[in-house]
Amino acid sequence: MKILFHIIKIVRAEIRSNLWILAELFVVFIVLWVMVDIFTRQFQVYHQPVGYDTEHVYQAIISHRSKEAPSYVKYDDDGTSVARDYQQIVAQIRQHPDVEVVSISSYSEPYTFSCMNSGMQRDTASQSVTARQHLVTPAYFRLFDIHTAEGDAPETLAEKLPQEGMIISQNLAEKLFKATSAVGQYVLMGNDSVRISAVCETLRNDEYNEKLIYAYFNPLSLQKYAEEGATEEDYADLALLFRIRPAADSRDYAHHFLQEMRTRLQAGNLWLSDVKSYEAIRYNFLANSEEASSQKLLSAVGAFLLVNVFLALIGSFWFRVNLRREEIGLRMAVGASRRSILGFTFLEGLMLLTLAALPALVVCFNLVVLDLVPTATTDARLLRFGWVSLATWCLLACTILLAIWYPARKATHIAPAEALHYE
């Protein structure tokens, strides 16, 4: 304890040269605190379950020939021929020996920006909730391995989908009915009352997606599509996904599949133009996301600040050690060991950091109180504040120790006699 007061005295005695370091540490501490807060939160969000399993999943991109092309096949019927062409392509993919599941969906896939939303409410008096519609075939649940809220196999959901009513996600059930078991209940969509046929696990669009999506599922029927007179463009808009046997998967499977199936997957004006691995789609989506960009930029700024803290401390401690040769010599002459001198200098650096951190933490705490930095639940706030503050302190402490180490070591290697001789 005594030594701490002694260090405080030294810090005070050199207040003029310390002022700049304190000011810099103060500012850098706040900036780093906010960054650590953002990074840890993003890390937590990233590692929460997404609900979708994209492994071994591929997307077959079906393109359509433009009407202006000379090879365009002109059909005179109201869409039955196009429907036949599309179903022929789907059947061909399904028959491929590697393929386990084939799913068709419309604007309902994870790792995309396109979605369809609509509102629903429990009754006319309650608040309306906006949920994302998933227009899918039953195979969708098996493809992405989506379980029921109770953890039952995807097949259960696949069975329920074509039946009357709709499937909703667990978080939507909780939002609407304050309970997970919502099967058999009814919700209002516009003027229709719709029965809940099953509840599936909570889903997210992607790893960075912080707000869980409220999801509901309706069956997509190709037959209905055909009856409505869907055109080539409509069919090309659908997402045709398939999962292959894990044993058959390889790094460039998409390319091989395209090479192998290109000629077979042509029917009328529809044709297979590309095959994409869903893992690649996921990777690209995450890499291009705003979060990934801001992480990169923030890391660069953080590194720049840490380098500056390093330079500031190494500079001033070098200066100080040079000035204090007499003092250090005297200490050593009176019997201080090298290690204690080193420790003493380190302590001085850490003391500076702590002195700067205290007012900085007041600012950070106010940021939390004023909700300027988003935090998780209210009760976890204080604990989180402590963790983040400690992590920031440690990060800066490491930088400071690294910066002080060389000048301090140099100081301890002065022969006491030589140091004393200056006096």
Binding site: W20, P70, G315, W318
Partner: protein, 433 residues
């Protein structure tokens, strides 16, 4: 002057205190690299770099809206073919006008193009531009083989195309393919030329395939019936002026031509925003805000490291007060002492500057998506695939001059105070050390 001596001495000091020097060099390098990133980004986004070699004397028009006289109907989109042809065709002041589709926009309309060599089995989707002959005069492409299509070919709608080097390689496994036939969605085109690849960092010129829009396989709005499609379509205009100061005259002539065009419309009116000069934006942030941000960042990136480095300098000079005292005792002027430290620091700073420049290239490469994309959607959707950097973008005399200037500024800022204090130390005190 003792320049040679100073430099020699600095070199010896450098060798004597390797650790200090290494820290100093790396520290300055990082500090300089941050400012250099700003300079390089500014350079890439605004300088005249081929193919956008005339950024200083071009202006742009990409949007128009059409308002019907009756009802509330209003359309907004890129320029219609007829508007572009009649308005820009009548203008005399500009040197050339480029009209072309935008690959990013046209993709959203589902107007995809797949190319294929007759009999080949590879048919990739390509990024293309349907353009006029003026495009090749406004932008500066380097042809490896063949040449661009001519005004006559454009006027008569000849099916001819220019492709990029890498597309030629991919499809034909060779580069000199002028005269060969290429299928665009099954329609045969003759390749008139092959150009060097263009980076998608040139948003006005980038594509892999170019052909006359008069020969497009998609409807370009040339023979349309509805009047709103006279004004609204898929084209974007880049106007090359003879001199930058022609801008007001071009704008005036354009306004008159628009007035004439509007007299030919009977059901509504086309309204265009004013022509735009080349501006500096990052990820869709407006030029004014970017300039303010850049100014603040430059000050921050220079000042903070300078203050920190000055601490390092002070410690260095502290150890040399004896030397300074002796030199002063023998009659050295403050000026020459100052110059000595200044030159010594500069000798340390220059390798730092070179390092900083190299660091900045690494930064820019690593952050090119964020720093060099002109609008946010291109970034988030990841459609800026081909945004490679070339030596021409990074290595430029101007960039080197800025790098040296930054070195000098950082040096002055960081050595001024410590040297000033050291030089003013009374001789007796200094000698006493």
């Amino acid at each position: 002057m003792y320049w040679k001596l100073y430099i020699k001495q600095a070199w010896n000091l450098f060798k004597q205190n390797r650790f200090f020097s290494a820290i100093y060099v790396v520290g300055t390098g990082l500090a300089i690299s941050m400012v250099m990133v700003l300079a390089v980004v500014y350079h890439i986004r605004t300088a005249n770099i081929a193919p956008e070699s005339h950024r200083a004397r071009v202006c742009y028009l990409s949007d128009t809206s059409y308002k019907a006289d009756e009802g509330n109907m209003q359309f907004q989109s890129n320029l219609g073919e007829r508007l572009a042809r009649e308005v820009f065709g009548s203008m005399q002041t500009p040197e050339a006008v480029s009209l072309s589709t935008n690959p990013n926009v046209i993709g959203r309309f589902g107007q995809e193009i797949f190319v294929q060599v007759p009999g080949g089995d590879d048919s990739p989707r390509v990024s293309y531009r349907a353009c006029n002959a003026g495009f090749w005069r406004v932008f500066d492409f380097s042809f490896i083989d063949g040449k661009a299509f001519t005004e006559e070919e454009f006027q008569s709608g000849v099916r001819t195309a220019v492709i990029s080097r890498s597309l030629a390689r991919r499809l034909y496994h060779k580069e000199k393919v002028a005269g060969e036939t290429l299928l665009l969605n099954d329609v045969a085109y003759r390749i008139s030329g092959v150009v060097e690849d263009v980076s998608s960092l040139f948003p006005n010129a980038y594509a892999e395939l170019w052909f006359p829009y008069t020969a497009s396989i998609y409807q370009m709005g040339m023979n349309v019936a509805q009047e709103f499609r006279f004004a609204c379509g898929h084209l974007e205009a880049v106007i090359l002026m003879r001199q930058a100061k022609d801008f007001p005259a071009v704008q005036q002539e354009f306004d008159e031509a628009m007035k004439r065009f509007n007299t030919t419309l009977t059901e509504g009116k086309a309204v265009t925003p004013p022509l735009e000069r080349s501006s500096f934006t990052i990820s869709g942030i407006a030029q004014k805000d970017i300039y303010i941000a850049f100014a603040l960042l430059t000050v921050l990136f220079l000042l903070v490291p300078a203050l920190n480095l000055s601490g390092l300098n002070a410690s260095q000079i502290q150890g040399r007060l004896e030397e300074i005292g002796i030199r002063k005792a023998f009659g050295a002027s403050r000026r020459s002492l100052f110059m000595q430290v200044f030159v010594e620091n500069l000798v340390l700073m220059l390798p730092g500057g070179v390092l900083g420049l190299l660091f900045s290239f690494v930064w820019v490469h690593g952050f090119k998506d964020i720093l060099l994309t002109h609008d946010l959607w291109t970034l988030v959707l990841g459609v800026n695939g081909n945004n490679f950097l070339t030596a021409g973008m990074l290595l430029d005399p101007w960039v080197f001059v800025v790098a040296f200037g930054v070195c000098l500024a950082l040096n002055l800022l960081s050595s001024w105070v410590p040297v000033w204090r050291a030089v003013r130390t009374p001789i007796v005190n200094a000698l006493n050390m």
